[in-house]
Amino acid sequence: MSHHKLEVKDLHYAYPDGHKAVNGMTFRIRHGESVGIVGANGAGKSTLLMLLMGVLFPSQGEVCVGDIHVTKKTLPLIRQRMGMVFQNPDDQLFMTTVYDDVAFGPRNYKLEEKEVENRVIQALELVGILHLKERAPFKLSGGEKRAAAIAAVLSMLPDILIMDEPSAALDPKSRRRLMSLLKTFEHTKIITSHDMDLVFELCERTIVIKDGAIIADGPTSEILMNTELMNECGLELPLALQNCPVCGIKKSRG
């Protein structure tokens, strides 16, 4: 019987200026699932992620990770189980070397330095940048920074990996490398993206958000091929499914 990893019940949140960012969202994510969250700019995706991590607290509703409700007191536990990778890696790599950034999390959990070293090496090997461990962040390329930010989260050995626009600003090869990497991860994954093709390839399930509410929630193959739904929500079909721009052959089934 799969154990629900993450449960969100009737979540509501409004910003101080009154803007209702999240308007009653409910969903459950199972262990090992790979879920894509898509929606137009301003639909509420990033806010949702903040609520999941306990950076913001809902005005109504709750978030449960495993059996633990997300509250101020349980934050340290929650954050050990869920790791979040931000949109802009510069905001996440704030130490002066990659090693120290990846070690930051484990050190905060007061692990022995030897254990910290093990975790760092492991995480860096997983994302393939072990050779960059003494590098300063400003000397990294976009793709390398992204990898370092992921490693910095992985070193805490989370069960759930949340990623906000992971392929933003990556060149095609780096993007491909990232996607291959994510495919190998066995964590439960929650990925927000504007990159429909990435979601199509990586996520078996997709949640579509519009104006702070969930419009659709189901298998990716159905949702992302639904032209009407995509248009309604300010999105498009994945490029891989659109008509061939050269010869015009139709690919999608509408």
Binding site: M50, M53, V55, L75, P76, R79, Q80, G83, M84, F86, N88, D90, D91, Q92, F94, M95, T96, T97, D100, A103, F104, G105, R107, N108, Y109, K110, E113, V116, E134, A136, P137, F138, A152, V153, M156
Partner: protein
């Protein structure tokens, strides 16, 4: 705007140099810090009229440059850039001090002597500071500060400042570039945008700080900063420190050039 990129380039150069692997770089940062501070104190403790006795202190930068394989040009260029400020104050000395001294057949106003002394001291002290960072780097220096019981939060904040100087410098450069492309012929930014240009940057900076804080919290930050264990002190590190201190003491107490000179004269005779 080119100023910003220049200073960024300068910092990155020193950062790169600090990551070299030479015998000097491997010395424990605390020893290098203490040596530098001792050097500064001794050099600065010389009187106003000393020039000759300061000369042996050239050995310190010379040896560090050589053993740490540091390039002379960029570092000395930096020193020369700082000298004008000193010259600005020091050049007034010859104006104010007209008393004349005679040595070796050359007549010189005492003011010029003090001027040269200041010039030399400036060169030595600034070079020493640059050599410290070029052989140690910000990280290890922070570890040395921790060893001196500097509060962790201060060290963390220092490292954060250092880390984000690249990012902020590029942001400032970008916005200035955008400004100058729409304001041809203007050298600096116009009074009407003083508030909004800098103000927007500050607001973005506050937002970024918020995101960094979130990132830190999400990785367990709770107000304390845990560093790794620093390197251990080896015998070699202590020898480095004591060796230099002995040399500085000897050069301070004895007039080495005069001794060498009289030796040579005696030999020649």
């Amino acid at each position: 705007m080119s100023n910003i990129m220049n200073s960024l380039y300068n910092m990155r150069l020193l950062d790169d140099l600090a990551r070299k692997e030479t015998s000097i770089h491997r010395i424990h940062p605390l020893m290098k810090l203490l040596t530098t501070v001792t050097y500064l104190i001794v050099v600065v403790s010389f009187g106003k009229y000393e020039i000759g006795r300061l000369l042996p202190f050239l050995f310190y930068p010379v040896l560090i440059f050589a053993f740490a394989e540091l390039p002379l040009a960029p570092i000395l260029k930096r020193v020369l850039l700082v000298e004008p400020l000193i010259i600005g104050i020091g050049i007034l000395n010859p104006i104010f001090d007209h008393q004349v001294i005679v040595f070796g057949g050359i007549t010189l106003s005492r003011g010029w002597v003090t001027f040269f002394s200041i010039f030399l001291k400036c060169g030595l002290t600034v070079t020493a500071a640059l050599l410290l960072i070029a052989t140690t780097g910000m990280d290890k220096l922070a570890a040395a500060l921790r060893a001196l019981k500097t509060p962790r939060l201060l060290v963390l904040q220092l490292l954060l400042t250092y880390r984000y100087i690249s990012v902020l410098s590029e942001e400032v450069a970008t916005i200035l570039r955008a400004y100058s492309l729409r304001a041809p012929g203007q050298k600096g930014i116009h009074r009407s945008v003083w508030g909004s240009l800098a103000g927007q940057l500050i607001l973005r900076t506050f937002d970024r700080a918020q995101r960094v804080y979130s990132a830190m919290c999400l990785r367990g930050f709770n107000g304390e900063y845990h560093t790794g264990t620093g390197g251990r002190l080896r015998v070699w590190d202590f020898l480095y420190l004591t060796g230099w201190i002995l040399f500085f003491a000897a050069a301070r107490i004895y007039d080495l050039p005069a001794l060498i000179g009289s030796l040579i004269i005696r030999v020649v005779k």
